[in-house]
């Protein structure tokens, strides 16, 4: 689960008392982690939630699921939790599977328990996908900045990418002819660059083309600049703008949350890479002729992951909260139940049907809290500076 150092392979725990303590780092961390009761509680809740979410997926998915979260029974609306269904007005297929409305029904008579089940997996997916996207972008950009940071971007590079980018935007905007022309021009510049670049050492570059090799700034400047630009937008505000402007489908919401929250992990990775690059094992790997690709993904990424892991755990929690906030403002996806939209649509009935608010409210609270505590425990364990000396 947590591979801190690839030098120490996780070995099966040894039971012998008399043997010298040959604990792997993982076990050491695990033992440390176990002592943190709050974090353990978080982990337990997280595991339970995970099981519920996976179960919820199978129980609520498809045309006729076991628990149908979309089944409307208007005559049974706003029934309190644990109440019995009215057998006379319901068709047999409309009866709740459990025989009672475990968590009551909502304003359309839908079974809140089924909706919570569906919400569990949808909310979990929102959290995981959003954070997954953020972490992947973060690793790629942060990794490039950290590893290739000193590479220079020349005028030619810039020209080519501006031309191609502009062309693509032009095509998207409907000006196909201009767009195609720009893309072709950009490709031409790129071709010139590559040919000249190959023959660079062999002979002088013809006048005029040398302008293309004028170095502007480094890759690192480019990526940190990009991060700075992204940080200039208030995140929730940015999400809100984008979500207001695109169809409110749950997968778009996940993507948008992911695309707007990668900056943290990119920074962490970049910082870690900058220091790892100078370490001996990387230098050794380079000297052995290991490819860059392999160095980055086999040696550096695993070692740089720990701060990212912590921020990812907390990121999942905040993605769930962001989705709830968006639902509150009416930008949720109504075709799926999420805990956020059950909660926000329940608040209209706070005085008539408090369970519609409290059930999802406490569910969100518990799960998010569990994620946060777990993440905090992880941080404590993974941060060597904070380790208690034994």
């Amino acid at each position: 689960m947590i591979v801190m150092n690839q030098n120490s392979k996780p070995s099966p725990a040894e039971g012998g008392v008399l043997e010298a303590p040959k604990r792997t780092l993982f076990q050491e961390n695990w033992n440390l982690f176990r002592k943190n009761r709050l974090a353990m509680a978080g982990l337990v809740v997280f595991v339970i939630f995970f099981i519920i979410a996976v179960g919820g997926f199978f129980l609520t998915y498809g045309r006729s699921p076991v628990f149908d979260p979309a089944l409307v029974r208007l005559q049974e609306k706003l029934r309190p939790p644990l109440s019995k269904p009215n057998l006379e007005t319901l068709k047999p297929e409309e009866l709740p599977r459990l025989g009672i409305y475990l968590f009551g029904t909502d304003d359309l008579g839908r079974d809140v328990f089924s909706r919570m089940l569906q919400g569990a997996w949808v909310s979990l997916t929102v959290g995981f996908v959003a954070v997954g996207i953020a972490v992947i972008i973060g690793i790629i950009l942060g990794g490039i900045a950290g590893y290739y940071g000193s590479g220079q971007i020349s005028l030619g590079h810039l020209l080519a990418s501006v031309l191609v980018g502009g062309g693509i935007i032009g095509i998207l905007l409907g000006e196909t002819a201009v767009g195609v022309l720009l893309v072709l021009l950009g490709a031409a510049v790129a071709a010139v660059l590559i040919r000249m670049g190959n023959s660079k050492g062999k002979g002088p570059i013809p006048m005029g083309f040398s302008v293309l090799f004028f170095n502007l700034f480094s890759v690192d400047v480019l990526i940190t600049g990009l991060i700075d630009i992204m940080l200039c937008f208030p995140v929730f505000f940015l999400i809100l703008t984008v979500v207001a402007l695109i169809p409110s489908k749950i997968h778009y919401i996940m993507i948008v949350i992911g695309l707007t929250s990668w900056m943290g992990s990119a920074r962490f990775i970049r910082a870690e890479f900058l220091s790892l690059r100078e370490l001996d094992f990387v230098t050794a790997a380079k000297a052995l002729g290991v490819s860059d690709w392999r160095i980055i993904f086999r040696h550096m990424v695993p070692n740089a992951m720990s701060p990212v892991l912590v921020s990812a755990t907390i990121g999942i929690a905040s993605a769930i909260l962001i989705e709830a906030g968006l639902s509150f403002l009416g930008f949720g996806d109504a075709s799926y139940a999420t805990w956020g939209n059950i909660l926000s649509s329940g608040k209209d009935f706070l005085f008539d049907a408090p369970w519609l608010t409290f059930v999802p409210g406490f569910a969100v609270l518990t799960v998010v809290l569990a994620f946060n505590l777990f993440g905090e425990g992880l941080r404590d364990v993974l941060n060597p500076k904070l380790k208690e000396r034994h």
Partner: protein, 318 residues
């Protein structure tokens, strides 16, 4: 030093330029038109719609529109489409309201986080530490609006006093009385606004303290037999505090931020709500102006914090 300032100023201006382009593109390439152009109103003929588009320069190519907007914004002539009022004036009006929340929220965050974080660090692993950890995370784990409703209902049903709005509605009081009334109305929203901050900052203080306490000089001080209070509060704290000085720069963007949700629930006419309504109504000048100003604040904020960092820690050469 001067070189640093010059270089970073140029950098920030370039960043700002890109921010302005990106926000302009996001706003403009998205579907939807300003709500003044209401195609579902049978009273609006195609001709009227065209005239509105022309008035808002929406018939021009994008780059021309871009120039128009930022020219108007920078010369202060930008006008809100919704009510034809100058954008900067509108923002200033809202800014005055949001400022209250910002100041009180920041004060609550900073005065509470330090004692809580420091004590937690000193009693690491103890009951106090664990309960504050738990509480801090509880605060950031509650969906904001759920928490807000719980608080409002609790206060209204138990104390029978108004909590929403900027002051008790319809009672025109002055002076001290007015001030205290305002304080009361600020209390709940700023606690809500500060909740996340307290949680994060107190954790940060705690970790910072722990880090410093594990340094050799602190352990030496302890070994020397200094009283624990003196060790904690004199030697450790002073050094642990240093990084926080730089955070003063980072709270600057909060000036123009403001949570839509809290402002809506508490009927607080602040920046967040204005921006939110502007997004819904596609009131481009307002959206862009808010975005631009907040970008400036972010950039100035990081600049200040970089400077402070240099001042505080002479080892750093930027």
């Amino acid at each position: 030093m001067l070189a640093f300032i010059g270089r970073s100023a140029i950098q920030k201006i370039i960043t700002l330029f890109f921010v302005s382009i990106i926000s302009f593109l996001i706003v403009h390439l998205a579907p939807g038109e300003p709500s003044q152009i209401d195609p579902l109103n049978p009273k609006f003929t195609q001709e009227v719609l065209e005239r509105f588009r022309k008035e808002f320069h929406l018939d021009k190519p994008l780059h021309i529109q871009y120039l128009y907007y930022y020219r108007d914004l920078l010369t202060g002539k930008s006008v809100s489409w919704k009510d034809n009022r100058p954008v900067l004036k509108k923002i200033y009006e809202r800014f005055k309201n949001s400022l209250w929340l910002f100041i009180l929220g920041t004060l609550i965050t900073w005065t509470l986080s330090f004692p809580v974080g420091i004590h937690a660090a000193i009693r690491r692993g103890g009951l106090y530490d664990r309960s504050t950890t738990f509480l801090a995370y509880l605060l950031i784990s509650i969906p904001g609006f759920f928490f807000a409703y719980m608080l409002i209902i609790f206060v209204v049903t138990h104390f029978h006093v108004p909590v929403i709005g900027m002051e008790t509605f319809g009672i025109s009081s002055t002076g001290w009385h007015w001030f205290m009334d305002r304080m009361w109305h600020l209390l709940l929203p700023s606690i809500l606004g500060a909740a996340g901050g307290i949680a994060v900052l107190s954790r940060y203080v705690r970790n910072q303290m722990l880090e410093v306490e594990s340094q050799d000089y602190v352990r030496t001080a302890k070994a020397k037999g200094l009283s624990p209070d003196k060790v904690h509060y004199k030697h450790a704290l002073r050094n642990a505090l240093l990084p926080f000085v730089t955070m003063f720069g980072l709270i600057l963007p909060g000036l123009i931020g403001g949570s839509v949700i809290i402002e809506s629930i508490f009927s607080w006419p602040g920046m967040g709500r204005m921006a939110y309504e502007a997004i819904l109504a596609r009131n481009y000048p307002v959206i862009l102006a808010v975005n631009f100003i907040s970008a400036i604040l972010v950039l100035v904020g990081t600049f200040i914090s970089d400077l402070l960092y240099m001042v505080v820690d002479p080892r750093i050469r930027l």
